[in-house]
C-alpha cells in the first residue's frame, strides 16, 4: 500500500457525477408503479417553477402521487445515499481500513437496537425513533472504537473489524431479544430493519436534511486531513495536524449522518462500501476525490436502487436493503478479488 498520491478533483469528474445524479433523479421521479406519462410529470414539475404555467393534465390523485410520494421519496433516497456513502468513505479513511463501512463497525446495529426499543415502546413512526436510533449508533461506535483501540492499537484494521463484528453481534442479539418479547410489533421492526423508503414524505426529508448537511459538510471539510492521515501519524503531526482530534470529529460526523439515515430509512447495507470503492477504482485514491464523488455517486446509487425496489415487483415493494445488498454483495466480492490479486 503506497501512500496516497495527492491529486485534485477534475471539473470533468464533478460534472460527470452531477450528470449521473441528475439522470438518476429524473428517472426516480418519472418512473413508478402508477402509470403516469413522463411528459405529464415533467409538465407538472415545470408548472411549479416561477414564471412557468403549464397544464399537465394530471388529476389531483396523480398530482399527489408526484408531489407527496415520488418527489420526497426520491429526495430522501438521495440524501440517505449521499450520507451513507460519504460516511463509509470517511470511515475507511479514518480507520485506514478499506473494508470499513457503517454496517461493519456496528453503528447500524446499534441504531437498530435503539429504534427497535423505541418502536416496541412508542409505536412505529413515533418522534422518539430517530433520537433513539442515534443514541444506539453512538453507543455502538464508541464500544467498537474503544474495543478496537484497546485490544489492538489504532493501526490494526483486523482488530477493528473484529471489534465491530463483536459489537454488531451483541447489539443485533439484544435487538432480536427485544423484538421477540414484543411479537405483536415484529412486522414493523422487520420492515424497518430491511430498510425502506416506502413511508417517506416531506417530514422525513425535513428530519434528515440537517443531519445529512452537517455530516456531509463536516466530512468534506476534513477530506484533506484524511489524506494527510493516510501518509502516517508522525508525518501528520509534523505538519501540525492532530490525528486524535481529526479522528474524533470525522467519526462523530459520520456517526451522526449514519444514525439519521438509519432512523428514517432502516438498515440499508453496502452503500457505504460499494460507492466509495467504485469511486476509488474509477477516480483515484485521494480522499479529496473520493469524498465529493461519493456524495454524488451515493445519492445516484440509492435513488436508482429505490427505483428498482418499487418497480421490479410492482405493485409489490422489495425492501431497499435487499436491492443494495443484491448489487453490493457481488461487488464486494469483486473488490476483494482484485485487492488480493493486486497484492499477489
Amino acid at each position: 500500500m503506497s501512500p496516497a498520491v495527492p491529486r485534485t478533483l477534475s471539473p470533468a469528474a464533478v460534472a460527470g457525477g452531477f450528470g449521473i445524479l441528475a439522470a438518476a433523479f429524473l428517472a426516480g421521479v418519472l418512473i413508478g408503479p402508477a402509470d403516469i406519462g413522463p411528459g405529464a410529470v415533467l409538465k407538472e414539475l415545470a408548472d411549479r417553477l416561477p414564471f412557468v404555467s403549464l397544464d399537465s393534465g394530471l388529476d389531483s390523485r396523480q398530482a399527489a402521487i408526484v408531489w407527496e410520494l415520488r418527489l420526497p421519496r426520491t429526495v430522501l433516497g438521495g440524501l440517505v445515499g449521499a450520507t451513507l456513502a460519504v460516511a463509509g468513505g470517511a470511515y475507511q479513511g479514518v480507520f485506514r481500513n478499506p473494508l470499513a463501512d457503517p454496517y461493519l463497525l456496528g453503528v447500524a446495529a446499534g441504531a437498530g437496537l435503539g429504534a427497535t426499543v423505541a418502536i416496541v415502546n412508542a409505536g412505529p413512526g413515533a418522534a422518539v425513533v430517530p433520537p433513539a436510533a442515534f443514541a444506539g449508533a453512538v453507543l455502538a461506535v464508541i464500544l467498537t472504537y474503544a474495543l478496537g483501540v484497546g485490544a489492538g492499537g489504532r493501526s490494526s484494521g483486523v482488530t477493528l473489524i473484529l471489534a465491530g463484528v463483536a459489537v454488531a453481534a451483541f447489539f443485533t442479539a439484544a435487538q432480536t431479544f427485544v423484538q421477540q418479547r414484543h411479537a405483536d410489533s415484529v412486522r414493523e421492526v422487520f420492515s424497518w430493519i430491511l430498510g425502506r423508503l416506502g413511508g417517506a414524505g416531506w417530514s422525513e426529508v425535513v428530519i434528515m436534511l440537517p443531519y445529512a448537511a452537517t455530516a456531509i459538510v463536516a466530512l468534506l471539510l476534513h477530506r484533506r486531513l484524511l489524506d494527510v492521515l493516510a501518509v502516517g501519524e508522525e508525518e501528520a503531526r509534523t505538519l501540525g495536524v492532530r490525528p486524535e482530534r481529526v479522528r474524533l470529529v470525522v467519526v462523530l460526523a459520520a456517526t451522526l449522518g449514519t444514525a439519521a439515515a438509519v432512523s428514517v430509512s432502516g438498515l440499508i447495507g453496502f452503500v457505504g462500501i460499494v460507492v466509495p470503492h467504485t469511486v476509488r477504482l474509477l477516480g483515484g485514491v485521494s480522499y479529496r476525490i473520493i469524498l465529493p464523488l461519493a456524495v454524488l455517486g451515493g445519492a445516484a446509487f440509492l435513488v436508482l436502487a429505490d427505483l428498482a425496489a418499487r418497480t421490479v415487483l410492482s405493485p409489490s415493494e422489495i425492501p431497499i436493503g435487499v436491492v443494495t445488498a443484491f448489487v453490493g454483495g457481488p461487488f464486494f466480492a469483486v473488490v476483494l478479488w482484485n485487492t488480493r490479486r493486486g497484492r499477489a
Binding site: 413508478g32 408503479p33 402508477a34 402509470d35 403516469i36 389531483s60 390523485r61 396523480q62 398530482a63 399527489a64 402521487i65 408531489w67 407527496e68 410520494l69 415520488r70 420526497p72 409505536g123 412505529p124 413512526g125 421477540q180 411479537a183 405483536d184 410489533s185 412486522r187 414493523e188 420492515s191 425502506r196 416506502g198 413511508g199 414524505g201 416531506w202 417530514s203 418499487r310 415487483l313 410492482s314 405493485p315 409489490s316 415493494e317 425492501p319
Partner: protein, 302 residues
C-alpha cells in the same frame, strides 16, 4: 453402558404405555366419551382430552365455541378470546419450547405453526399433536372444526357450529347479492402489507362481491404483498379496510394524514373502515362477525 441406556429407555417406554392403557379403560368401565380411542390426522387420541394445549388463537376460539374450553389448560400469547383463554397458562407459539409444552402434561396439542420438528418431538413423547395449516377455502375451516370436534369428543357441537356458520355466511352473502362490485385495499400493517383476492381473507371479501386492488394473486404470487403507496393511490380503491387498528393504532384519521392519501376517494368519501385486527385475521367462529361487519360497512344491495 449402552445396555443400561437401552434398559432405562425400555422401562420408561413401558411405564408410559402402561399409563396410557390405564387412562383409556380403567377397570373396563366404558368412558363417557364414546368412540374413543379415535384416530385423527395420524394422531391416536386414547380418551376425551382433558388437558389441551392450543398454540393457535383461531383454534382456541373454535375449542371454546364447541364447548371444549374447560379442557384447555394452556394457550399461546395471541389467544385472547374468549376472555377465559387469557386465564390459561401461556406458551409462545412462534418460539415453541417442546419441553415447556410437555411439562404441561397435555393429552392433546394443537399447533398452527411448526418451527421445526415440534410435531415429531411431541408425538414421540406420546402426546397426540395436530398441526393445522392456514385454510385456503371456507371448507378448510369447516374441516378443521370437524376435526377438532372428533378429537375432543364433541362431534355434535362441532357439526352444529359449522352448520350455523355456513347458514350465517350464506345469509350475509345473499344480502350483498346484486350489489355493486367494489374494489378494496385491506391493510395488514402501516408498512402497506396487503392481501390479494386469491388469499383466504380475499375469498371472504369475494363472497361479498369485493375485489382486492392487488389483483387475483394466490398464496404464492403476490398473496401477501407489501404495496407501494403510489400503487394504492393510483388504484384508488372504493374501500380501505384497516386490520391494523389494534396493533398499530391506525385509524381513518391517521390514514387521511398520510402524505398524499387525502387524494384517495375512500378518504374523501368516508369509506375507510376500521376493523378489529384479531377478528380480521383468524379463521374461527368470529369470521362470521367479520363478514357481517364488512357487509354492513359496504352496504347491502340497493
Amino acid at each position: 453402558m449402552s445396555r443400561w441406556i437401552a434398559l432405562a429407555v425400555a422401562v420408561l417406554v413401558g411405564s408410559a404405555a402402561g399409563c396410557g392403557g390405564q387412562a383409556a379403560t380403567p377397570d373396563g368401565v366404558p368412558q363417557p366419551g364414546a368412540g374413543f380411542p379415535v384416530e385423527v390426522a395420524g394422531a391416536t387420541i386414547a380418551a376425551p382430552p382433558e388437558r389441551i394445549v392450543s398454540a393457535s388463537a383461531s383454534h382456541t376460539e373454535i375449542l371454546f365455541a364447541i364447548g371444549a374450553g374447560d379442557s384447555v389448560v394452556a394457550t399461546d400469547l395471541f389467544s385472547n378470546y374468549p376472555s377465559q383463554a387469557e386465564e390459561t397458562e401461556k406458551i409462545d407459539a412462534f418460539n415453541l419450547s417442546v419441553e415447556a409444552v410437555a411439562a404441561l402434561d397435555p393429552d392433546l396439542v394443537i399447533l398452527a405453526f411448526d418451527p421445526g420438528g415440534a410435531v415429531d418431538a411431541l408425538s414421540g413423547l406420546g402426546i397426540p399433536t395436530l398441526l393445522f395449516d392456514p385454510p385456503v377455502t371456507l371448507s378448510d375451516v369447516f374441516a378443521q372444526i370437524t376435526t377438532l370436534g372428533t378429537a375432543t369428543g364433541r362431534s355434535d357441537e362441532a357439526g352444529s357450529l359449522a352448520a350455523e356458520m355456513e347458514g350465517e355466511i350464506e345469509r350475509i352473502a345473499a344480502s350483498r347479492e346484486g350489489g355493486a362490485a367494489f374494489t378494496y385495499y385491506h391493510e395488514l400493517d402501516p408498512t402497506l402489507f396487503s392481501v390479494a383476492s386469491g388469499t383466504f381473507i380475499g375469498s371472504l371479501y369475494g363472497l361479498l362481491g369485493l375485489e382486492s386492488i392487488v389483483g387475483p394473486g394466490d398464496a404464492d404470487a403476490l398473496g401477501y404483498a407489501q404495496l407501494t403507496a403510489e400503487f394504492v393511490l393510483d388504484a384508488d380503491p372504493d374501500f380501505v379496510f384497516l386490520a391494523d387498528t389494534r396493533c398499530c393504532g391506525e385509524s381513518a384519521a391517521t390514514v387521511a394524514a398520510r402524505p398524499g392519501w387525502d387524494a384517495l376517494s375512500a378518504v374523501r368519501e368516508d369509506r375507510v373502515v376500521e376493523l378489529d385486527d384479531d377478528v380480521a385475521s383468524r379463521w374461527g367462529p368470529r369470521l362470521v362477525d367479520f363478514l357481517a361487519f364488512v357487509a354492513e360497512a359496504v352496504g347491502g344491495s340497493s
